[in-house]
Symmetry: C2
Subunit: 315 residues, 2 copies
């Protein structure tokens, strides 16, 4: 049951995109660049830098090109960007991203609401992007609402597996299974992740969870047990869900890294450095963030015993 | 990996004791009684009603006897109370508790700081209580700091198992493994719970987790997978940790029940009723509580699609 111990895990930071896109205040470009540069030195495997969506739709990320061009490229870190359509692909190519993160939803209504396309149209755009890029840049496909849709409800295992199959047929072998609005539970995660791994043993799967319903790390653990070794997470738990005001957002990067290390799985990340950076987030975004490790410290934090213990009369 | 599906689980509510004991404001006795009476109708297996500690040490629970005497006893619900010593046992007997929850720590310094006794003295008091009660009342033993101590650090598996053995030798076969300050991780939980279950297959084990470091539900899932079917939890996640200001407290009852139901494990609990009661907590204690389901709703909550979707031109 604990055969995951010792397995190397890869942590992929999404706060700059999935977190900041939700923030009402615009984080200045130079602060974004400085944050990415600091994060690039902590041991993260990948940083999703920004999103090449319409600046009108997501003003918080209107500086996508500038950020992408100004950041330092740390050795061993992949600098990715979200690309929602062919137009975004052109913008991403113009500033030399390491990876394009294409996105579509597993459910029809969420795809329509989020991308103004049918899933068929998304698949067609994926095909077009793969052709345009022609192997010059890595491509990942993120499958939103893979564990349930806030509009359509259940999304069946068979449907998700068939979409994965179609994406792989296009020539994309790196796929993120996204629990976009925090609907997944650990049983479902184990079943879907194990089935995906078994069907496409050579594909690279990432698990992307939200903590909207407190199950973020339980789902991460379930995915780990099902053989997943790549995880998206957001510094400080930045993010949130438009459907659940006040609820938690993405799984918190430093809390997840802390758990994996405690469980005996290395990530290559300097947890102390990550927590230090996370502590700067509330000032940057103007509100508290859900991360717990920055408040509680790591599990092995020790406290001095109360002083009166020395005078205790033990009869 | 999912052989827990369909297993009946038992949820034990500790907010009245582990939650309220931390609260700076005294919750009026009649509000406690009303809360317990409502909780008693939701399907909970057990409610820890109060603690028979010194009212000087924990003024928030100074009304222990009154609460215990005034509550309705719901059918099928066990009404338990924490008993830290022989004096507490006498008080508990005087008001007809269904179960005494004896407590000691697995680590020496925490036992000294919390109970002003050595672990040896605690074991001696357990023995005395078992003799005094003489089978007339159920007894559970809670083993605090079973997954680590904020003062002493690591608590070894062997040490915890040997303490469980001594408690069982006294004649107590119901034992709670407590992660008192949220130091446990899922690997550790799987290993300890599986070892305890294997060594004493006829004992009744409860898992008691705190969410101090975001791992509460991941640890609950780990315990479930290791064969545990009884779980302590606190409505709204009420509780907290004296060592981690601002960090989360006990695992949240309604969030845990929601996860177990989603995972396919029945608890007999009316989740909607539980959430409804939890929603009254912030007013009762005067601050927000960490529970997420009361904010986000259950995973199967559906939202209407945006209205503009109807006018979407899909080319």
């Amino acid at each position: 049951m604990t055969d995951y111990i010792g397995r190397q895990l890869y942590i992929q930071e999404v706060s700059l995109r999935d977190g900041f896109q939700m923030e009402p205040t615009f984080v200045p470009t130079e602060q974004k660049v400085a944050l990415i540069n600091r994060l690039g030195r902590t041991g993260l495997a990948k940083i999703e830098v920004t999103s090449f969506t319409s600046p009108k739709a997501i003003p918080a990320l209107a500086d996508a090109e500038t950020v992408m061009r100004q950041i330092d490229r740390g050795a061993g870190v992949q600098y990715s960007a979200l690309v929602p359509n062919v137009r975004g692909c052109e913008r991403a190519l113009s500033c030399n991203v390491d990876e394009m993160n294409l996105v579509m939803s597993a459910s029809r209504t969420h795809n329509l609401a989020n991308l103004r396309m049918t899933p068929e149209q998304s698949i067609a755009q994926f095909t077009e992007v793969v052709r345009a890029v022609d192997g010059t840049v890595s491509i990942n496909a993120s499958l939103s609402t893979a564990f349930g849709c806030p509009f359509d409800g259940d999304v069946s295992l068979q449907h998700v597996l068939s979409l994965i199959g179609r994406i792989i047929d296009i020539g994309i072998r790196s796929i993120t299974l996204c629990d976009t609005t925090g609907m997944a539970n650990p049983t479902q995660v184990q079943v879907l992740c194990a089935a995906a791994k078994a069907s496409w043993p050579n594909a690279i799967f990432t698990a992307h969870f939200h903590n909207t319903r407190s199950m973020g790390l339980a789902n991460a653990m379930a995915a780990l047990m099902a053989g997943i070794d790549r995880f998206d997470a957001s510094l400080g738990g930045l993010g949130g869900c438009p459907f659940a005001p006040g609820a938690s957002g993405n799984v918190c990067t430093e809390d997840m890294v802390h758990m994996f290390h405690a469980m005996g799985c290395p990530t290559g990340i300097d947890l102390g450095a990550l927590v230090e950076i996370a502590r700067g987030l509330p000032r940057m975004v103007g509100h508290d963030v859900p991360g717990q490790i920055m408040k509680a410290g790591p599990f092995n934090r020790r406290y001095p015993p109360p002083e009166w213990l020395n005078e205790l009369d033990l009869g």
